[in-house]
Amino acid sequence: MWTKDRRTFEASDRQQGGDMMLSVPAAAVTLLVAWIHPSYALYFHIGETEKKCFIEEIPDETMVIGKYRTQLWDKQTGSFLPSTPGLGMHVEIKDPDTKMILSRQYGSEGRFTFTSHTPGEHQICLHSNSTKMALFAGGKLRVHLDIQVGEHTNNYPEIAAKDKLTELQLRVRQLLDQVEQIQKEQNYQRYREERFRMTSESTNQRVLWWSIAQTFILIVTGIWQMRHLKSFFEAKKLV
């Protein structure tokens, strides 16, 4: 069954070769047009001085790729301009110890990437830093954003082309990457659970010591009060 399918696969390969002759220019034109305006699907609006932060809780040695595209509201046409030069976004990335990993200014379209060295909550902040403030009279900026983490950052067709893998090998490679991601996440989970347990135990200890200390303070102050007042009243000859 395997060899039969292989032959059919090769036959369809050849047939595709023929069709490709005609559709190559069409495909090229489509691709070219689509390349000019890559669309990252999800977008949101941001104000002029507003800073938008996103949190990514990731294990260590994980790659994160972020891509964004900005569009400015044009009051005259009443719509968003396709692209505006001079519009920039400042990207800041902080690691779980609030240390700045990346702090860079990008243009109206940008791509940033980093690899985490400590597991935990990383913060990705964006705020606009436009050179011409007059552009912002409308007040709205549309930001398309896409953040891919871990195995989603892998570009499988590129890997296939580079390592010359067959389809099955590529699928297995994808499964291996996924399993590696799951393993890393579970490792991180173990580390987090340990932290949680330490916090809970510390709370438990604090409550225990505090209740003992409070009882002790109460008893000591009670005794001191009684003794002090007794000596005071004796001195005053009231007792």
Binding site: W2, D5, T8, F9, S12, Q16, G17, M21, V24, A27, A28, P38, S39, Y40, A41, L42, Y43, F44, I55, E56, E57, L145, D146, I147, N155, Y156, P157, E158, A160, A161, E167, L168, L170, R171, L175, Q178, Q181, I182, E185, Q186, Q189, R192, R195, F196, S200, S202, T203, R206, V207, Q214, I217, T221, G222, W224, Q225, H228, F232, F233, K236, L238
Partner: protein
């Protein structure tokens, strides 16, 4: 030649596909009284899923609303902690979903959402295949789907654990502050109880009783009037010496005007040094015997 051209096209197409996002998950912070909206352009017939979960903040709930291009509400839930909604796009256009924290006055919320549009991009770009998948390939596909759901469960577990952990850390800091605060309050209250009790039984002149004594002496006097600048004082101390002390002290306290001492029959006893505007702390060096501040003034019956 066709092969290389096809390879080039495949790589280009792959690059393009990687620019096409077909699913986004983000975690963001929603301040109090704020609303955050996200938009996505969807083609008709695409199956989409929106999942959200509140990670930290308050009662861990948020309002969520999903609208289609004609502003018809497809999904609306108030104060939900976690939910998942699947729909098929009936129209072409921009779909909008919003998270609102407007019901909360001072808690920031961290919200995670995962918006999947359509299926994953195919591994190989030339997916106009005429043959069915082999057994190996279909096994790979099913393992891939199973692992995707494992990763999804892991994400939700991580979020729930983050919730629990943030609550535990809050509890820890609150217990620390409260125990220190209560110990301090306990000590302060017990000491002040003893001090207050002692003061009830004691007739020694403390600062408080001295100040009280000063004013009562002012009112027990025999001199009729002692005017200082704009301040008429219809009472006076019992002796001349005390009167001078009082006048000097009160003038110093009020920091203005000079003083003239008058006896009970309004006779001018002693045109004591007319002072100009004095500050309350100043001119103390000038006064020989009058350098006792008002609080130290002792009454006659001691």
């Amino acid at each position: 030649m066709f092969r290389s051209l096809r390879l080039l096209l495949q790589v280009l197409w792959a690059q393009l596909l990687c620019g096409w996002v077909l699913g986004s998950e983000l975690t963001f912070e929603l301040p109090d009284n704020a609303k955050q909206c996200f938009y996505e352009d969807i083609i008709v017939g695409t199956k989409c899923t929106l999942e959200f979960q509140v990670v930290t903040g308050g009662h861990y709930d948020v309002d969520c609303r999903l609208e289609d291009p004609d502003s018809t509400t497809l999904y609306k839930e108030m104060k939900k902690q976690y939910d998942s909604f699947t729909f098929t796009a009936a129209k072409n256009g921009t779909y909008k979903f919003c998270f609102s924290n407007e019901f909360s006055t001072f808690t920031h919320k961290t919200v995670y959402f995962d918006f999947q549009v359509g299926d994953d991009p195919p591994l190989f770009p030339n997916e106009n295949r005429v043959t069915a998948l082999t057994q190996m390939e279909s096994a790979c596909v099913s393992i891939h789907e199973a692992l995707k759901s494992v990763i999804d469960y892991q994400t939700h577990f991580r979020l729930r654990e983050a919730q629990g952990r943030s609550r535990a850390e809050d509890l820890n800091t609150r217990v620390a502050f409260w125990s220190i605060g209560e110990a301090i309050i306990l000590l302060v209250v017990s000491i002040s109880q003893v001090v207050l009790l002692r003061s009830f039984f004691s007739d020694k002149k403390t600062t408080m009783t001295r100040i009280l004594g000063f004013f009562s002496d002012l009112c027990d006097g025999k001199l009729s009037a002692l005017t200082l600048g704009d301040i008429p004082c219809p009472f006076g101390p019992t002796s001349f010496f005390q009167a001078r002390l009082t006048a000097a002290a009160v003038a110093r306290r009020h920091g203005r005007g000079g003083f003239l001492l008058f006896g009970p029959q309004k006779q001018n006893i002693e045109p004591v040094k007319r002072r100009g505007n004095m500050t309350s702390e100043g001119n103390r060096a000038d006064e020989g015997e009058e350098d006792t501040p008002a609080a130290e003034f002792r009454s006659d019956d001691q």
